[in-house]
Each structure stands twice: as structure tokens, then as C-alpha cells.
């Protein structure tokens, strides 16, 4: 197989992990919405954790993107 073709296939495989990330981000905000509607006074407490959780899950998405870009442009 040519190297260029292998690179493209590798990059495509690397972003399969983003499915889990989408589920994770949806999970965080679903929990936030549920908690906020059940107990609106708890919203300020949970908000901080929500943003931290979102940033951490988004980081995993960007690790996958990083691997894809690494495969495409560095090797």
C-alpha cells in the first residue's frame, strides 16, 4: 500500500474515537440540565464542575485530532 493512502486511512481511523467524546459531552450537559431542573438552587454549585468536565472531555477530542494530524503531516 502506498504511504499516502495508509496515512489517509490512519487519520480516518484516529477520529473514530470522537464518537465517545460526543457521548461524553452530551452526558455532562444532560446531567447538568437534569440537576438544574430538579434543583435550580444547585446550579451555581454545579456550574464550575460542568465547565471543567467539558474542557477535560474536549481535550480528549483534541488528542484524537492531534493523532490524526500527526499521522497525516509528520509521518
Amino acid at each position: 500500500m502506498e504511504v499516502a493512502a495508509a496515512k489517509l486511512i490512519g487519520a480516518g481511523l484516529a477520529v473514530i474515537g470522537l464518537g465517545g467524546v460526543g457521548a461524553g459531552i452530551g452526558n455532562i450537559f444532560a446531567s447538568m440540565i437534569t440537576a438544574g431542573t430538579r434543583n435550580p438552587s444547585a446550579i451555581p454549585t454545579v456550574q464550575g464542575f460542568m465547565w471543567i468536565g467539558f474542557a477535560l472531555v474536549e481535550a480528549v477530542a483534541l488528542y484524537a485530532l492531534l493523532i490524526a494530524l500527526l499521522v497525516l503531516f509528520v509521518f
Binding site: 465547565w51 471543567i52 467539558f54 474542557a55 477535560l56 474536549e58 481535550a59 483534541l62 485530532l65 492531534l66
Partner: protein, 254 residues
């Protein structure tokens, strides 16, 4: 990545030397030796960030009144924001680390925001910068842990209440996850900034070739720019709060 008309969207991350390369020896073509230090566009924006944050704080508190003016309000809000973060995450012992955490947050935040200005350079989009910051945090926190607890700091890797049989499996995993902390800290900030700016460049490059229909990518770029401003603040906040959490781990083992 789409390369429209020969310009790659990754060109915005190139570090350029402004005003000659440092350390070059004199040659017959250039008989004057260059100064020893190369002032790059990255250094320019780092200097700009430091100047802006210092000016914001010094000038904001210039006429410190009990009923604050608008700039004083902002300066006090930024102080309180980090102060609360340290109090909630590190506790009372963390107060002496406030200058470091505040500087860290302001440096990363100013860098991210400056990168959103047109024709600017995002110095936090380089892994060498973010890894230097994360390495300083990691090494500093580890040294603080050893200074405070001595060799007892190593008990951090074996949480209490764990059966002894699991220890040979758990300790290497704990040590490995401890060493991935600076890597993840650096990589998170770097990847967010690089991916965000590359995405903006790629979508912006669709606008002109499409003509009238270019309003669709234009609307998308406007939305993405708004998202990037939010991410600029969020990534600075997450970098800082994770540094506070790691500091708490070192000061109060678990």
C-alpha cells in the same frame, strides 16, 4: 488541510524573527554581527501580554476608592476570581502560592485572547510554550510535595484502604498517571488553541471563493470566533484550576 491558493492554514503558527537573526557571525555579505538575541513574533506577543496585564492591574487600582470605578471593579474581580479558586481548591495553605497561580492564569488568558485579534500570533498554540508552563507547574508542585512531606510524599501513590495484594499493580499505574499530568496539561491547551485557530482559518478560506453564497461560511466563522473566545477563557481557567488541584494533592496528600 485545504491549501487555497498556496497558503496553508498552518502558516499562522510559524515563528518569525523580527529584525534579524541573533547570534549570526559576520560574513563578507553582512559584515555587522547580529545581536545575540532573536526577537521573534512570539516574544513580541508575550511582552505585549505582560505589558497589558500589568497596565490593567496598575492603572485599574490607580485611584483605589471604596466605591470602585469600572476598571477597579474588573481588577478586583480578577483578583477575587483566582483568590476564590485557590481557597476552594487548595485551602488556607495555598494563599502563599497566589502570585504564581494568578500570573499563570493571566499569562495564559492574555495569550489566548491576544491570539483572537486579527493578524496576531497565539503563543499558547506552541507546544514548547505550554509544555514549559506545565513542566514548571509539575516540577514545582512535586518539589513542594517533597519539601513539605519528605519521603512520606511517596505515600501519595498508594491510597489508604487498598489491600496489600493490589499494591504492586496499583503503584505503577498511579506513578504513570502522575507523570502524564504535565503532558495532558500542556497538550490540552496547545491542541485547543491550534485546532481552534486552524479551523477558523480553514472556514474563513471558504468565504471569498464562494462569492455571494459566502455568507454561509461567514456566519459559521462568526459563530466559531465567539466559541473561540469562550474557549480562550475556559482553557485558561482549566489550566489554572488543574494546577490548583495538583498543588492541593502535593500539600494535602489526598
Amino acid at each position: 488541510m485545504a491549501a487555497e491558493g498556496g497558503h496553508s492554514p498552518l502558516e499562522q503558527f510559524v515563528v518569525k524573527a523580527l529584525g534579524g537573526h541573533g547570534g549570526a557571525m559576520p560574513t563578507p555579505d553582512a559584515p555587522v554581527a547580529m545581536p545575540f538575541y532573536t526577537f521573534t513574533n512570539s516574544a513580541l506577543f508575550m511582552t505585549l501580554a505582560v505589558v497589558l496585564v500589568t497596565a490593567f492591574l496598575v492603572l485599574g487600582m490607580r485611584r483605589a476608592a471604596l466605591v470602585p470605578s469600572r476598571w477597579q471593579c474588573l481588577a478586583e474581580i480578577s483578583y477575587e476570581f483566582i483568590g476564590n479558586m485557590i481557597r476552594d481548591n487548595v485551602g488556607h495553605d495555598g494563599r502563599k502560592y497566589f502570585p504564581f497561580i494568578f500570573t499563570l492564569f493571566m499569562f495564559v488568558f492574555a495569550g489566548n485572547i491576544l491570539g483572537m485579534m486579527p493578524y496576531s500570533f497565539t503563543y499558547t498554540s506552541h507546544i514548547v510554550v505550554t509544555f514549559a508552563l506545565a513542566a514548571v507547574v509539575f516540577v514545582g508542585v512535586t518539589l513542594i510535595g517533597f519539601a513539605k512531606h519528605g519521603l512520606h510524599f511517596l505515600s501519595f501513590f498508594l491510597p489508604s484502604g487498598v489491600p496489600v495484594v493490589m499494591a504492586p499493580l496499583l503503584i505503577p499505574i498511579e506513578i504513570l498517571s502522575y507523570f502524564t499530568r504535565p503532558v495532558s496539561l500542556a497538550l490540552r491547551l496547545f491542541a485547543n488553541m491550534t485546532a481552534g485557530h486552524t479551523m477558523l482559518k480553514v472556514f474563513a478560506s471558504f468565504i471569498a471563493p464562494l462569492g455571494v453564497v459566502g455568507v454561509v461560511p461567514l456566519a459559521l466563522v462568526i459563530g466559531l470566533a465567539g466559541l473561540e473566545f469562550i474557549i480562550a477563557f475556559l482553557q485558561a481557567y482549566v489550566f489554572t484550576i488543574l494546577s490548583c488541584v495538583y498543588l492541593n494533592d502535593a500539600l494535602h496528600l489526598h
